[in-house]
Symmetry: C2
Subunit: 287 residues, 2 copies
Amino acid sequence: MSRISYVNGRYLPHRDALVHVEDRGFQFADAVYEVFAIRRGGLVDEALHLARLARSLVELRIAPPMGEAALKLVLREVVRRNRVANGTLYLQVSRGAAPRDFVFPKAARPTLVVTVRPQRRQDPRLLEEGVGVITIPDIRWGRPDIKTVGLLPNALGKQQARDTGAFEAWQVDRDGRVTEGTSTNAWIVTADGEVVTRQADHSILNGVTRYGLLQLLGGEGLRLAERPFSVAEAKAAREAFLTSTTNFVLPVVSIDGAPVANGHPGTLTLRLRALYDAYVAAQVAAP
Amino acid sequence: MSRISYVNGRYLPHRDALVHVEDRGFQFADAVYEVFAIRRGGLVDEALHLARLARSLVELRIAPPMGEAALKLVLREVVRRNRVANGTLYLQVSRGAAPRDFVFPKAARPTLVVTVRPQRRQDPRLLEEGVGVITIPDIRWGRPDIKTVGLLPNALGKQQARDTGAFEAWQVDRDGRVTEGTSTNAWIVTADGEVVTRQADHSILNGVTRYGLLQLLGGEGLRLAERPFSVAEAKAAREAFLTSTTNFVLPVVSIDGAPVANGHPGTLTLRLRALYDAYVAAQVAAP
């Protein structure tokens, strides 16, 4: 069965999923996106992703390509046509194609692209052994809270991590405090058991998995602080972990090559992962 | 005659100039570009643009899509097929199309797109009356010296300028000093006749017109300083102007709504514009 992708009203063989060279997503990074996890053929946290998409569009004054009900139908149809039970759905909206000009075009219609792909089961070693991160300066623009495709600094950071054998790079602001990973949110558990992640202001993307986990933490009676933490604090933490739509919760066991605590996944981290897995399973099992 | 654009080895009707939705230029702003002025069918400062392109590619570890000699032939062929005497040539190189992943793809081949369009003659009022600029915070990423398509902050800034009736927005760093316009370099002439523009470090794009004008200034015996200048200094300047590939030299006569000096184009600015026009004319008249 061939892979089918959606572009501006048409369901196409993936290789024929094309956009114009003057699409502003290609020439100006003038576009936003969302990545949804698919489990049992359902979209995990669909409402949260769509709400964030709507916010991104408003921030950039891009008109929604269609109403939310219609969009949901498109998402379902792309999943259905690809017969993907477990995987990811990628959605991108750009301001549209128009003769190249920095000024917003008056007439362009937004471009909507939706692709789906199956996801290999996460390598169990990532969870069993944990992953390493490096720290790098956060050189992104001033609005990483908007989920734009201006991801070159993120890609460069991720590549730098992989070049050194690490899984992810944690970006660090001018004050020496971690903002977030290049495609994941960053968390620590302090020596006295407080769970810490940076507050969702303009300096980070408000991750959907981050948000979901925060809700679960409240229910577990865990002590939580949404505040910046320094690299030094992270290196001295009892546990560290990262969250994202495709990774859920993963233990971080080294930072810049130095082990976090004993260098093994933290017990609270693994408990949170189990909680989150159950949260996702319950969601897609619902009638 | 239909417009012809080049995409990865093919000369296509412009409406058929397409790239894949998984091109990294569309999904990650993982691409660089150049805009060349075309005069009398020739490319102005071609060597300088190609040198800057080569630098951008090296900085991002993107392989050149072809050798420079072959690339020059493609550029000439696109100009020829479009029969454009005066206009602009747009060239974009992305890291290529690959299944979406922040990490650099191992197998992708760079995407090369070249488009050309005729340019209306510059509205003479822009030169006769000058233009207004507003000042906005520079919220771009840390490497605007690399000419990437991560231009969303620039587009937002330009739109903000136009929303307020201004021609351009000058971006201002945390120390209150002008970096550059959203698609132009910023210059002032101080009360004692010194011509000032910011030094080309990591904080600005090293404009080709900026560079060409600097060479001309030296020949004219004018006093020159490559250094940052504050918004206050700009507002108190004797003259102000901007430079770019498509605008050449344009007088700036107001900043944030307040007139620069008497609110008319500066005499030195107009002299520099004439010098630059002559420099371009001499270049394309050469055998």
